[in-house]
Amino acid sequence: MNRISFSFARKLPLAYISHLDMLRLFLRALRRSRLPLAFSQGFNPHPRLTLALPLPVGVTASEEYGEIYFTEFIRPEDFIGRLRPQLPEALELIDAYIVRPEAPSLASRIEAALYRAILKNGFEQRLTAESVRDALERLLAREEIIIQRKTKKKKTASTNVRPYIIEAVVKKEAGKPMELNLVLKAGSQGGISPVFLLEQLESDPVCTGISAHDWQLHRESIYVNNDGILQPVSEGM
């Protein structure tokens, strides 16, 4: 059994599809590529493909990760060469490498992600970087930011997500739109969506009227925990 991990960028039109749609898209592209997919056992065998850390709808990404199993040895460059022509333009296959079968899944190692929220055209005049910086400070100064989440049994549970915000800074360079850089906890140990943070920001008087979809969200990188240090996945490869 051959296990391959791969990275890809996701550009704008494709940001509008869900995680499940994305899985289906990859599976169909893989089938078209005629690569020797390995199937799970059981009544309904399905190809063994996972995509790490679902991306919220509407968010673009520089570096997403997936893992796939094949029945025979496939060189990473052949994987890329055969899959790339089957993918839409907005989905750019970046890299692929072989992973030891016993290695833990990438998904299980994810700790955090860096997002960029870029203010869309037309809102620049209404907000200054200083005022957004103040609003962010006010938000981060809170000890608790409570979020109501639906649990599996149709109940709601409240979670304090303040600890999940690792870093949130405003960036403003001359001639460029304002942007926020957000490092948020993510993965199986808990995390929050950047959309939630933008919604929180909207409730600050300074940002009234600027809603979450007035920012174009982009995931810059995904971090794993490497001996206690947060490190982008790409650096650990």
Binding site: L12, P13, Y16, D21, R28, N121
Partner: protein, 599 residues
């Protein structure tokens, strides 16, 4: 080619996409979609589907015509679907006209807009889409710069309620004809003919119906004939049929949607038409005769589709797939071809007999979840009336076989309001279901999951039941009540029904004439959209529209039409004669009376 009259700000589209639910409905650009340079073709067409993307993308007609038109270098065809309510609001707010998915150009800038008319309850969406496209609703109000608005699909077999909104209709199967017709329209335009001259010029072609060249005649408010306003077209318009499916175009590279559609799989058509002749079923008559695709063609086409799409399932589609002549051989060949790639083959719905269950068994190697059957009526008497000749023994045998083979559930389709139906026939649905449950509880010790879906009979044009009245609303509600109460006490059954008011509207428009066009416009003005979706359907709005125009819904739905009266669709020839329908209708009622005589 044409000047761009209505340039679209693509930044607005991109901004709206970030604000709507399921933005992928409006993206275009899917795998196998086709974007051509507008300046390099002679004629630009849009295939317009008056329902949501997920529904329209499951339509086989779209796939067939899209690929066969786009295979021609002188033509292009793009797509548009009815925008959902949230998108419509944003489009109106931002004054964004309806645009085609591929190029994001305004519909108004195309040469031909072709609507697919699949069901009556999508008619208000047709008007709404024309309005969003800023194309005048009425054919008579369109200018030379507007596209031609044309229609095709099952509803064109009685297009009269829509007649004033369309420049022309194509009746029947268009795949061998549409590319040439589009090219011809371009040529006529190139010769500087105006709209009316173009319409007159094509009006004598087989299967073309230009409604503005016909005027319905009324005597004492009753339709009595059609007067031709031009000498070119024929008195009766004949539907077009493909002679040989193996030679007709069939899509091997259908578009693969980003989001899940209603039928999210590859489709290969085994045969067209149906030899069964159930008396309520319009498809069974308008798609005659039965024409089969060869096994060789099916296998080759199926392989090509899978290679071009990457689907993991292929549906063997037909009105009654298990009736395909060499179905057993075909299934084993399909299994062989797709064994390695683990592509599943599926049958849409099964005939209720052991043979069909055996075939389904051969097909599904995977988990056996549920099988779909359509007994339609629960008593043998009523099944005889509607021409669905299966016995209760057949039903039990088929279900037993399916349970023995490991299926864990069924979906059963019934109808209420069928001609000659009594309360007892409706109660028989409960009795039959109760029997099924007891039978299998005793046999297997486990209870089955059974979904029972009950629709309301709608008298459809070009069927032996076209003269029959629809059951009145209050009575439909009563009979649904019988079922609702009954199923409430039957665990394991999941009962669903159709909104009775929506079925009434469907009957009105199925049997309607041109006098309904203003009603449709009024209902649309009052905000009616997506009438086939219960969350959008508003009977109150429709009632107001009927009142405003002083039209009695009952005179269309509840009236028994006479054999000798002129029907709104009598100028449309579906290939089956009125005499044959009368004979079949009489046979249905004779079956009924002889049975009654015996008992």
């Amino acid at each position: 080619m044409m000047v761009n009259w209505m340039p679209i700000d693509k930044d607005i589209i991109s901004d709206l996409l970030s604000r709507v639910q399921k933005p992928a409905r409006y993206l275009g650009n899917e795998w196998n979609s086709c974007l051509k340079d507008h300046d390099r073709v002679a004629v630009r067409a849009v295939f317009a589907f008056p329902d949501l993307y997920e529904v329209g993308m499951s339509n086989q007609g779209l796939k067939i015509l899209y690929e066969c038109v786009n295979s021609r270098s002188d033509l292009l065809m793009e797509r548009v679907f009815a925008p959902a309510a949230d998108m419509e609001d944003l489009m109106r707010e931002n004054d964004l006209p309806l645009f085609a998915l591929e190029s994001q150009e305004a519909l108004k800038d195309f040469d031909v807009i072709g609507f697919s008319l699949q069901y009556e309850l999508s008619y208000t969406n047709v008007l709404n889409m024309l309005d969003l496209a800023k194309i005048p609703l009425y054919s008579s109000e369109r200018s030379e710069s507007d596209p031609l608005v044309i229609g095709g699909g099952p509803c064109t077999f009685n297009p009269e309620p829509l007649a004033p909104f369309f420049d022309f209709f194509i009746l029947g199967e268009a795949e061998e004809f549409l590319p040439d017709l589009l090219a011809e329209l371009g040529a006529l335009k190139g010769r500087c003919l105006n709209r009316n001259e173009i319409l007159s010029a094509i009006s004598d072609l087989e299967s073309i119906y230009v409604p503005s060249l016909y005027r319905p005649l009324y005597r004492d408010g009753v339709l009595c004939g059609m007067e031709k306003l031009d000498s070119r077209p024929s008195d009766v318009i004949r539907k077009r049929t493909v002679k040989d499916l193996d030679c007709a175009p069939y899509p091997t590279s259908p578009i693969v949607s980003y989001i899940q559609t209603v039928h999210d799989r590859a489709v290969i058509e085994l045969f067209r038409g149906c030899g069964k002749g159930c008396r309520f079923c319009q498809a069974g008559f308008i798609f005659r005769p039965v024409r089969s695709r060869s096994r060789k063609n099916i296998l080759e086409t199926a392989e090509a589709i899978i290679a071009a799409t990457g689907y993991d399932e292929i549906s063997l589609s037909s009105l009654s797939s298990t009736d395909y002549a060499q179905i057993e051989t075909l299934i084993s060949e399909m299994n062989e071809v797709f064994e390695e790639s683990k592509v599943k083959c599926s049958l849409p719905s099964l005939r209720l007999d052991s043979y069909s269950v055996k075939l389904a068994e051969q097909l599904h190697q995977g988990r056996r979840s549920s099988l779909t059957f359509a007994p339609e009526a629960a008593t043998e008497r009523l099944r005889k009336v509607i021409g669905k000749n299966i016995s209760e023994e057949d039903i039990f045998k088929a279900l037993s076989d399916a349970v023995a083979a490991g299926w864990q559930g069924f979906k059963l389709y019934f109808m209420i309001g069928l001609p000659t139906e009594k309360d007892a026939d409706v109660e028989a649905i409960l009795t039959l279901c109760r029997k099924i449950r007891q039978h299998f509880k005793l046999k297997t010790g486990r209870s089955l999951k059974i979904v029972v879906s009950v629709s309301t009979f709608i008298p459809k044009p070009h069927t032996p039941f076209q003269w029959e009245p629809q059951l009145e609303l209050s009575e439909v509600v009563n009979r649904q009540q019988i079922l609702r109460k009954g199923f409430r006490n039957m665990p394991g059954f999941d009962y669903s029904w159709h909104e009775p008011e929506a079925s009434l509207l469907e009957a009105v428009f199925a049997r309607g004439d041109r006098l309904l066009a203003p009603l449709l416009e009024r209902a649309w003005q009052l905000g009616c959209r997506f009438d086939g979706w219960s969350e959008h359907f508003s009977f109150e709005r429709w009632q107001k529209a009927f009142r405003d125009l002083n039209i009695d819904a009952g005179s269309y739905a509840y009236r028994r039409f006479n054999y000798d009266e002129y029907l709104p669709w009598d100028h449309i020839d579906c290939g089956v004669s009125k005499e044959m329908f009368i004979r079949e209708h009489r046979n249905a009622l004779i079956d009924e009376s002889t049975r009654r005589g015996i008992s």
